[in-house]
Symmetry: C2
Subunit: 506 residues, 2 copies
């Protein structure tokens, strides 16, 4: 009765057996069935074996969203090798640091990142192998210049306890940490999501988030666990996303708030979104209330979620039936997740903010090669997220902010998201960001940055007056700056930590 | 990364939190939301605690399909006690044997079986506790004459490795064996079924199979794992089932062939079944082809399945998309199940019949207190089912025959050895052999052949009366033939497969 080695038949292989002709993925002009994808994955796995990729190897991947990325991910599973996805927006120095720190054995790239990869390999003698380039050639994904090793024993089973990927987290202070993602985490996350959102055989999930982040990667695993189609976009483009919804009938999409806003801005003339779109999964931090209200008005089935790399994406998601009457909530923990809000070492009461702790089989066992960081973050299986939120009387989570963003002013806690959402209610404001500024008297004071709608014009003073109408005195920004754009990461998530540079450039 | 103790938040409690007002169950005139069901379950758990039910206790339950049954099942989960469901069709003698053999600590019954339960308790001094009666009183399920122990610590988590139930099945030889059903088996089975059939929030699963069999019991667990409604019928009644489909919009029903035939017979005048009925899950042995063709002609979404107690119901199920072009197939193993066909100690080729072996987290770890039977049935995690089948070129299973000698009559499993051993207790009987005879209504019925001791004489009628004293009604042979000798092989082993020739010689 020991379930520590739960073994499941390989997910993609099962899809190829059960639904061989069902659309697995659409990327650009290419449409592959599960049978075709399985064929491509099997061949690439054998080519990678020829090139020396072995079970347990940590294989770094520097590539754009595309078929080479997808086939590589599943090919590594067949070999029992571990994926280390690299954020393509990092500097050469940052990439080099990550590849070395994680003791990667190989560096794979696609055609687009060939040059960077070659340079990295020259700079990192620790890599066993020179650049391995996975390319799309006449609709086939192949390892450049490599033959298949037909004798390679490929894994036909997936052991849920083994490591699928190590993903570096971004946006924290100090050096990045590699979050361990097991196959069990992918499985449990996919199942929890399906129990919440429903599982329809004709679902088609649109992936326009980077595959090097968990939000994008987990879509690929849901596809092979459920046996559903994926439409993969190279990057987020509001017009292309809208087209995929109207023309290709994407049924579920994963987005962050700024993407959704751009989709709405770009589709006003098109009327209602088609009813085939059954779920807009909105993650990446607290969403501005005006955006949510706009979605309600336009009958867009938006479902907020609170996710993080350590939870293999979604941990808490709003049940679709609650989307309207729990506007602004991230919802309820998925079936496999336990959640606690702790304030000053005791469970917080309803409505009382505290730190969010998570536990369950979709939560990471820790950080690769970082026992002390693991011990600090995970105690008795409970992950300390550092994020702040509260539960309402019915147990629905409202995420207030990320702890690192917390502004403490004169002993009062200030959550930037709260101020931002007030600024966003002003008709002239398109985007808003708030951070803390050191202050001799109060410790910190909030300052704000706003980006106005095109052709709109308003003075900072008028905006301050607007803020003063809605916020307690200590929460009113000391200054409001009107700027051309706000700093965002590759997932379009607002980087509050970079806001100060808008005031005092380095 | 050890998953041996995967803990999940209690399934029913989560439903009560997430969908408090959603219909959990409809039984007769009573309709309970998940919040109401959770309330009823919590109270009964506390009453059972007062009555002495403790974690790890094996609690036998003799009850008809109804709310007391359902609430008891979930209440035992809250206490960590183990359910031992009793087949209400068994004789007093058979019931007594099972209760003693499994070392039950308590016997619970509903009002309907109060008398039998009282008699059983008097006859079984090993039981810790006198009869405990769970009754439905003004739409409340309560333990008769018991108070709640409000201090009882109830389990809020479910450990997938612990035992939920022990369900008796008869063996080929000798006495019945208790199949261990863990919570993990229920979970994985429910998830595998949802991945195959889809998971729709508005599903409503009609349960008209006995809850003491895995086919009925597993529906109750799917309900709380998915958060969907169940319509519970006290027993199968074709007209009532048809009404539930037309009026109450049941979307999925689990039936065996004889039930489906009666449903069709009773609905000919009503035209097509409504499109809300999205799945008729057909188990309980190979289905007659004319029945399947009739379903196709009437556009009934029938999905065949091959299940067994040891697999926590479904192990192999036809994907709905294949229902038409794979008519007669039991389909493909569910995602968590591995399947092998072994013929003469080697894997069978496509089309070649052999014994069906199953492995995976929804397969039983063994038989309670029967290490030798467990070792015989399960090797290296592979369950020897004894059933015969083959895979076609695309890997679809066709079940040819259940365990060579198993008789399936109206969905009930009948084991010849059990009937033979009753016949052999009669002083006039020297040898006995039992086999199944095709029957238009039930699929099969048992018939028996006996050879009398020299100089003894007894009529078939008198032997039938003897059988009726010791056997559940459905196990009583349709006919008993008195013969000169029984077919045996050179080792004198009874050849049950040759018994039919005694009736209709070639």
């Amino acid at each position: 009765m020991n379930a520590s080695n739960t073994l499941l038949p390989n997910w993609l292989a099962r899809c190829a057996e059960n639904f061989p002709r069902h659309l697995a993925i659409q990327s650009g002009e290419v449409r592959w069935s599960f049978a075709e994808m399985d064929y491509q994955v099997t061949r690439l796995a054998r080519q990678l074996a020829t090139a020396g990729v072995r079970e347990g190897n940590r294989v770094a991947l520097l590539a754009a969203n595309g078929l080479p990325y997808v086939v590589t991910i599943h090919a590594l599973t067949r070999l029992g090798a571990i994926l280390v996805p690299l954020n393509t927006r990092l500097t050469f120095e940052e990439l080099g640091w990550q590849i070395r720190a994680i003791h990667a054995s190989h560096l794979l790239s696609d055609t687009f990142y060939e040059r960077s990869a070659t340079d990295l390999v020259q700079a990192i003698p620790e890599l066993i192998q020179g650049t391995l380039q996975v390319e799309l050639e006449s609709n086939n994904v192949v390892l450049k210049g490599s033959d298949e090793d037909l004798n390679t024993p490929l894994h036909t089973l997936i052991d849920l306890s083994t490591i699928q990927a190590i993903i570096y987290t971004s946006g924290t202070t100090g050096k990045p940490k590699g979050v361990i993602i097991t196959y069990g985490m992918q499985w449990w996350n996919a199942i929890g999501s399906a129990l919440n959102l429903g599982h329809h055989h004709d679902d088609c999930w649109l992936a326009c988030l980077p595959l090097f982040h968990i939000g994008g990667l987990s879509i690929l695993f849901r596809s092979v666990i459920y046996g559903i189609s994926v439409i993969l976009h190279e990057k987020f483009d509001a017009a292309a996303v809208n087209l995929a919804i109207w023309e290709d009938h994407a049924t579920i999409i994963s987005v962050v708030a700024v993407m959704l806003q751009r989709m709405l801005d770009g589709s006003e003339s098109q009327g209602r979104y088609p009813s085939t779109l059954r779920c807009v999964l909105l993650g990446g931090g607290p969403a501005p209330r005006p955006l949510l209200e706009d979605c309600v008005a336009r009958a867009i089935p938006v479902v907020q979620t609170y996710g993080l790399t350590e939870a293999c994406s979604q941990a808490v998601t709003l049940p679709p039936a609650d989307a309207l009457h729990k506007l602004g909530s991230a919802g309820r923990p998925l079936p496999q997740v336990q959640l606690r809000i702790i304030n000053e070492d005791r469970p917080a009461a309803s409505g009382e903010p505290g730190t969010i702790y998570l536990k369950g089989p979709s939560i990471t066992p820790g950080y690769a090669d970082r026992p002390e960081a693991t011990m600090e973050a995970i105690r008795d299986g409970w992950l300390y997220t550092g994020d702040i939120g509260y539960l309402d009387e019915e147990g629905y989570l409202y995420v207030l902010d990320r702890r690192s963003d917390l502004i403490i002013s004169g002993g009062e806690n200030i959550y930037p998201a709260e101020i931002e959402s007030v600024l966003l209610t002003h008709p002239d404001v398109a985007e808003a960001g708030v951070c803390g500024q050191p202050d001799a008297q109060w410790g910190q004071v909030p300052i704000a940055f706003v980006h106005l709608h095109a052709d709109h014009n308003i003075s900072p003073e008028a905006l301050l007056a607007h803020a003063a109408q809605h916020l307690a005195r200590y929460k009113i920004p000391r200054t409001i700056y009107i700027v051309d754009r706000l700093p965002r990461n590759s997932s379009s998530k607002l980087l509050r930590c970079k806001l100060p540079w808008l005031v005092s450039p380095p």
